[in-house]
């Protein structure tokens, strides 16, 4: 088709101008695609580390002062045995697990540096419900403990190692019986860098008869919100004494937030695309203006309006498609680079939901180019042939 040929040649003879307009599209495509890839990779990587399935309701003492903090004399920052029994009753038949927690200094072997780590106290019966081991066995006795995978790796701890707790070992010594599988960020207990002892040992050592947290494992996920509501109703009837968190809901909220962040950064990329569109509009207007006479000749010797229009739309399409292709290639390279530099892995890059972002970016670039080409092309097509012919 001759109009396609003319459009092509016109882009070629104004190479620098075409290239600069195209550059805007390239930048726009790269901005949108890489932002999309980055956002998507972040969501994927977070959902990988939030390994915990959303199957728990976490009850913690209400810590918020609530603005008018006076008079809330009953506020203790623990959950009492009585409160625990209430939780247990309303969440039945789901299992309620009381959790004790403190941070403690400890030494691993004679002459080693003293470190500080979290120590959990859990009922040996409850431990298998929450924690999986990679090595060793669950400890039944009060002198045994489990350690997290990161803790074990960092401190060179193995099954059989001994940990002496407290200043100069005043809290006694525990023998490591098992190493807990890596759990990542978790809402219930974060054991990766912690020591898990038995509840009896914890009660005896720290003289405790209350709890820091209660985790309710919900078997039927559809009931999770009901369990949460039941606990809140029971305990917070008069005043708020516990905070209840539904892990499924919380995860949903987190993903929602990530989705919004991704949308937001992509929108910033979109702004650069709009700027690119304006520059396309600009050079297309220039292209029309400097060819008014030529348009007049074409029209007078028999070119239809739509043919003149198509010639300019082809020109915009060439800029858009070339810009999108270059931008697409650069986004691929850039996305790969960002993934490997910022996320240290490309496993979230070579997935359809990341790569599709490049397609979105390219499609958006082409669409923007065509939209910005419509008005100049329409102007050209609707010039009066007599006036256009007389134009110098």
């Amino acid at each position: 088709m001759i109009f396609w040929e003319i459009a092509k040649r016109n882009v070629r003879i104004h190479l620098l101008r075409s290239f600069l307009a195209m550059l805007g599209i390239v930048i726009g495509v790269v901005a949108i695609s890489t932002m999309g890839i980055l956002g998507n990779s972040m969501v994927l990587s977070v959902s990988d580390s939030l390994r915990t399935v959303g199957d728990s309701v976490i009850v913690t003492p209400h810590a918020g002062g609530g603005g008018m903090g006076f008079g809330s004399g009953t506020t203790s920052f623990t959950i009492s045995e009585q409160e625990f029994q209430q939780i247990k009753r309303v969440s039945a038949p789901n299992v309620a697990i009381p959790v004790l927690r403190t941070s403690e200094r400890m030494k691993l072997g004679v002459g080693s540096e003293e470190i500080v780590a979290l120590v959990y106290g859990l009922d040996p019966d409850d431990v298998p419900l929450m924690l999986n081991l990679v090595e060793g066995d669950y400890s039944r006795g009060n002198s045994g403990c489990l350690v997290g995978a990161t803790f074990a790796k960092d401190n060179n701890v193995r099954v059989g190692s001994r940990i002496s707790l407290g200043k100069d070992g005043e809290k006694g010594t525990l023998r490591v019986t098992g190493i807990i599988e890596e759990r990542g960020m978790a809402f219930d207990v974060s054991t990766d860098s912690a020591v898990v002892a038995t509840r009896d040992w914890f009660d005896g050592t720290y003289n405790r008869d209350d709890y820091d947290q209660v985790v309710v494992k919900v078997k039927n996920l559809d009931e999770i919100a009901d369990v949460k509501t039941a606990i809140e109703k029971q305990l917070n009837r008069r005043e708020t004494i516990v905070d209840v968190m539904d892990t499924r809901k919380t995860m949903e909220t987190i993903f929602e937030a990530f989705g919004q962040i991704t949308t937001f950064v992509s929108a910033i990329g979109g702004i650069s695309m709009i700027v690119a569109g304006v520059s396309i509009l600009n050079i297309m207007m220039m292209s029309v203006t400097e060819r008014i006479k030529e348009i007049g000749i074409m029209r007078s010797i028999g070119a239809q309006r739509r043919e003149v229009m198509s010639m300019f739309l082809y020109e915009a399409a060439i800029l858009g498609i070339l810009g999108a292709i270059i931008g697409g290639v650069m986004s691929f390279v850039g996305g790969y680079a960002i993934s490997s530099l910022m996320l240290q892995t490309t496993k979230y890059f070579f997935v359809p939901s990341s790569l599709i972002q490049i397609v979105y970016g390219m499609a958006f670039g082409i669409v923007v180019c065509l939209i910005c080409g419509i008005y100049p092309a329409w102007r050209a097509a609707n010039l009066n042939p007599i006036d256009a012919l007389r134009h110098e």
């Binding site: 088709m1 001759i2 040929e5 003319i6 040649r9 016109n10 003879i13 006479k293 030529e294 000749i297 074409m298 029209r299 007078s300 010797i301 028999g302 070119a303 239809q304 309006r305 043919e307 042939p385 007599i386 012919l389």
Partner: protein, 225 residues
């Protein structure tokens, strides 16, 4: 009408409405052009010559009166219909050649044909008309700027002839050429006319008008002789 005139003007009036008052560019013009004629239209500037040219070229429609091109009334045609009519029935030749700088000679010549057929260059037909305007084969793949003025005007004539139009409409065809080259173009016109092409030529050059066989003189929007 069995064999209609290629062009018929009947009481054509063209008024340009302007804020300062209407301007009557043509005031009741009637004439007829038969097949095979070679007519020149003469008149001083401001006489309505350009308006007449635009109407003859179907670039514009009259305010009142009728214009027929080979029996077809153009008065209430849409833009698309008028454009098709220009493409198929009228060959335009301009003072400034008006070739497309981005296209080579053969593409320029076959441009109206490509508009008509929607297909690509037909080199055979292109070469045929280029030979009819006595242009050297070697120039066919050059761009217009590499040609002399006379050569460019020959290409323009070839382009005007490509769709076998009813009328060749020329606007000062030699106005941008020296007299010797201009005479060459006029000889070509005469030759084409002898072979049957109907030619209407707008000019103010009396010497050039001598090549035609009939002259329409126009002044103040009316035909005076």
């Amino acid at each position: 009408m069995e064999n209609p005139p290629v062009m018929l003007f009947r009481d054509v009036v063209k008024v340009y409405p302007l804020p300062a008052g209407d301007v009557i560019a043509l005031d009741g013009v009637s004439f007829q052009v038969d097949r095979g004629e070679f007519i020149s239209v003469m008149g001083p500037s401001g006489s309505g010559k350009s308006t007449l040219l635009n109407l003859m070229g179907c670039l514009d429609t009259p305010t009142t009166g009728d214009i027929f091109i080979s029996g077809t009334r153009i008065g209430d045609m849409s833009d698309t219909e008028l454009t098709s009519l220009r493409r198929d029935r009228i060959g335009f030749i301009f003072q400034y050649f008006n070739l497309f700088p981005l296209l080579n000679i053969i593409e320029n010549v076959t441009f109206p044909m490509m508009l008509k057929t929607g297909r690509g260059v037909d080199p055979e037909r292109g070469k045929e008309v280029l030979r009819a305007v006595q242009l050297d084969d070697k120039l066919f793949t050059h761009t217009p700027t590499e040609l002399s003025g006379g050569q460019q005007q020959r290409v323009a004539v070839a382009r005007a002839l490509i769709n076998n139009p009813d009328i060749l409409l020329c606007d000062e065809p030699t106005g941008n050429l020296d007299s010797k080259t201009g005479d060459g173009i006029m000889d070509l016109m005469s030759e084409l006319n002898r072979k049957g092409t109907t030619i209407i030529m707008v000019t103010h050059d009396a010497h050039i008008a001598e090549y035609s066989r009939r002259t329409i003189r126009i002044a103040d929007g009316r035909i005076v002789s």
